[in-house]
């Protein structure tokens, strides 16, 4: 126990300032009203869905939860079920074998809800494109509010996209 406390004291707090929202990341007009976003903006529950990525974007979603970004300081937390979620964080491309599962996850998420598409593949289908096995971009399967490019996008960029999705209510 002493070692643990000593290490915690030695390292201190490494969390860095969070990024500003960027409206350029929006792919559709804002659908939710200020009152809803204001509530989401203070306590946002996120369900991550990997719809067919190379797992590179997942590495950065893990890194988003590192002490450097620490999204919980902003009331943002990841939850275990879409039924508990306000926002789906979806990586792509959407494989055809995941198409039904992604739709069902979206349907299981209670309204009102937001969707953020992650990475070049989530935004456009990326290097995998559309094929017999791939539906391409996330918005080909479910409605998307904000999309963040990058291969993979950094934790800061992902956090920025999430904050953009709820930004109107934060003002």
């Amino acid at each position: 126990m002493y070692q643990i406390l000593k290490q915690i004291a030695k390292i201190g707090i490494v969390t860095e300032p969070w990024p500003h929202p960027d409206d350029a990341l929006r792919v559709s007009a804002r659908r939710l009203g200020d009152a809803i976003l204001a509530r989401f903006g203070r306590a946002l529950a996120i369900r991550h869905v990997d719809a067919g990525s190379c797992n590179g974007c997942e590495l950065e979603i893990h890194a988003l939860n590192s002490p450097f970004t620490n999204p919980e300081q902003l009331g943002i937390k990841f939850v275990a079920s879409p039924r508990h979620a306000d926002l789906l964080l979806v990586t792509g491309p959407v494989s055809r074998n995941m198409e039904t599962a992604l739709r069902r996850t979206w349907e299981a998420t209670p309204d009102p809800k937001l969707v953020v598409a992650i990475g070049d593949c989530g935004c456009t289908g990326g290097i995998f494109g559309e094929s017999y096995a791939s539906c391409g971009r996330v918005s080909n399967v479910i409605p998307v509010d904000v999309a963040v490019p990058g291969c993979p996008p950094t934790p800061d960029a992902i956090l920025q996209a999430i904050l953009t999705a709820v930004s109107a209510g934060r003002r």
Binding site: Q3, I4, Q7, I8, I11, V14, H48, V49, D50, A51, G52, S53, C54, N55, G56, C57, E58, L59, E60, I61, H62, A63, N65, S66, P67, F68, F78, A80, S81, P82, P93, S95, R96, N97, M98, E99, T100, A101, T105, I127, F128, G129, S131, Y132, A133, S134, C151, P152, T154
Partner: protein
């Protein structure tokens, strides 16, 4: 010439690793496999090709690793009846590979084999084979329900828990079917293939230059291992030898990838036994390493840093020395954390004897990579086939025999330290000179093999090319071999320990779903 271990006529394949090619008739396949198995050869990969453009039928391909090198075996099959005698009883790891091959190429083992589909769910019909040359890529088939025939377990008090494809944590999609009594797991059956996005078909429309980017995205967490294997295959097929400085830099990149993944896993393994302190500490270290990667090589995960012909970016002396200093500081931190993990009774209680895979089973089923080395399977390409840049470094084989979560934790710690040592040695001996050669064209029907010990295990790329185009490429992830062992590792454990056991293997879904 003959292979050292088998009386079989082989032809050496030019390239960085010792690779031999041979062709055998389907009728001889089983005998060759029986003999290979008796001579301690392991099955690395199995895949199929449609050779109709060359005027022949189909072919089954096997990669078998002998002590003297890799044997790339081609088994020609008739166009009219592309069947072969299955080998899953000799090499159990072949089961899913044979089924994937049937789904994608339409070549099947003869009666008696497991004939269930694997990568095909409901997105394309049973009589359409995406990797055949006449497959219409513009066609979109409607979704049909998967209806996969899981093995049912019956008995008093037995019930099933279906999990996935969408899981509770930030992990890749796959389905796990648990049959349990109370909390105890009687049986686990995996259903993968959810991430199948047509990678092999996509390669066939690419040039040798373009393919590098896709190879680095077969399994993003192993991007360096795949990019190196791809570059090695292309260099073999086009007859170029990358500069020595580039090879040393590739070694540094591969070890950085190993350290980053092991640090992340060590954090999560702490997290999964309620030691969230471990998560915060290791992910702080990992993040620092990722930022170093971005500064030195332009990408946090080192994507596209290795290219056919060499590396995309040189490492100046001052940066290399900075890296060694940073790793030295990191090594001290990891030592502190290791002593905390080892003295933490709660963590050790969850780690020890959980998810055990004994050496005999690991050897029989072909467990590979660090998980294999935690179960007494002493294999590591860097040690077994020491080619540059590992030749002069004398890499240490990390090995333990207990095969439980604790052993897989310990192997990770020791491999982190060994990789740090290797990077330091590579930096000290960094050869001067060029870092990249221009890409040459491949001859007609040229072949190449890339074979690299990634952080998770051995990554193989088998390439057939012509001119500057990819004709056929099969990427093989070590997770093919290791996924079935997870089904064994959970026997008799309790359901709440599954996430811990799963994380202790940390297998790739994307790498096997293709």
């Amino acid at each position: 010439m003959n292979l050292k271990e088998l009386p079989i006529e082989v032809e050496p394949l030019p390239g960085a690793m010792p690779v031999f090619r041979a062709s055998v008739a389907a009728a001889e396949l089983r005998e060759v496999c029986v003999q290979a198995r008796a001579r301690k050869a392991r099955l690395v990969a199995l895949w199929g090709t449609d050779d109709s453009e060359r005027g022949t039928g189909y072919a089954l391909h096997l990669a078998l690793a002998f002590p003297s090198g890799l044997l790339w075996l081609r088994v020609p099959l008739a166009r009219a009846d592309p069947r072969y005698p299955g080998i899953a009883d000799i090499y159990p790891a072949a089961n899913r590979m044979q089924r994937a091959c049937a789904d994608l190429v339409g070549i099947r083992p003869e009666d008696g084999a497991d004939a269930r589909k694997w990568l095909r769910h409901g997105a394309w019909p049973e009589d359409a084979y995406p990797l055949r040359r006449d497959f219409d890529t513009s066609l979109r088939h409607g979704q049909k329900p998967d209806r996969y025939p899981f093995v049912a377990v019956a008995g008093e008090g037995v019930h099933e828990i279906p999990v996935g494809p969408v899981h509770a944590g930030t992990i890749e999609p796959g389905h796990f079917r648990f049959s349990i009594v109370g909390e105890k797991i009687l049986r686990l059956e995996e259903r993968l293939g959810y991430k199948h996005k047509g990678i092999e078909k996509r390669f066939e429309s690419m040039t040798l230059e373009e393919g590098a980017k896709l190879a680095g995205r077969v399994s993003g967490d192993s991007t360096v291992a795949y990019a190196w294997a791809y570059a090695m295959a292309v260099e073999g097929a086009t007859g170029i030898e990358p500069p020595r400085r580039a090879l040393a830099l590739r070694g540094i990149l591969l070890e950085l990838e190993r350290i980053a993944n092991h640090l992340g896993d060590l954090g999560y393994l702490g997290n999964d036994v309620a030691l969230s302190f471990g998560f915060s500490q290791f992910w702080r270290l990992k993040e620092e390493l990722l930022r170093f990667n971005a500064r030195l090589f332009g990408h946090r995960y080192l994507m596209d840093a290795i290219v056919p012909g060499g590396v995309a970016r040189d490492l100046p002396r001052a940066d290399a020395e900075g890296l060694v200093r940073a790793l030295e500081g990191m090594r001290r931190e990891v030592e502190t954390l290791q002593s905390i993990y080892e003295e933490h009774a709660g963590a050790q209680d969850r780690f020890i004897m959980t998810g055990q895979v004994l050496p005999e089973l690991a050897e029989r089923l072909g467990l590979n990579g660090f998980a294999g080395r935690a179960s007494g399977v002493r294999r590591d390409l860097r040690v077994d086939y020491p080619v540059p840049p590992y030749q002069q470094l004398d890499p240490r084989m990390i090995s333990h025999t207990r095969g439980d979560v604790a052993a897989r934790v310990l192997v990770r710690f020791e491999e982190v330290f060994e990789s740090m040592r290797l990077i330091e040695a590579l930096v000290q001996e960094l050869p001067p000179g060029e870092t990249r050669l221009p890409l040459a064209k491949a001859g007609s029907g040229a072949k190449g093999i890339g074979w690299v010990e990634g952080w998770r295990g051995e990554v193989l790329i088998a390439l057939e090319a012509g001119g500057n185009r990819i004709h056929r490429l099969h990427p093989h992830d070590p997770s093919w071999q290791n996924w079935p062992l997870l089904e064994h590792a959970v026997h008799g454990n309790i359901v709440p320990d599954f996430p811990l056991i799963n994380k202790s293997f940390n297998l790739s879904y994307s790498g096997v779903d293709l």
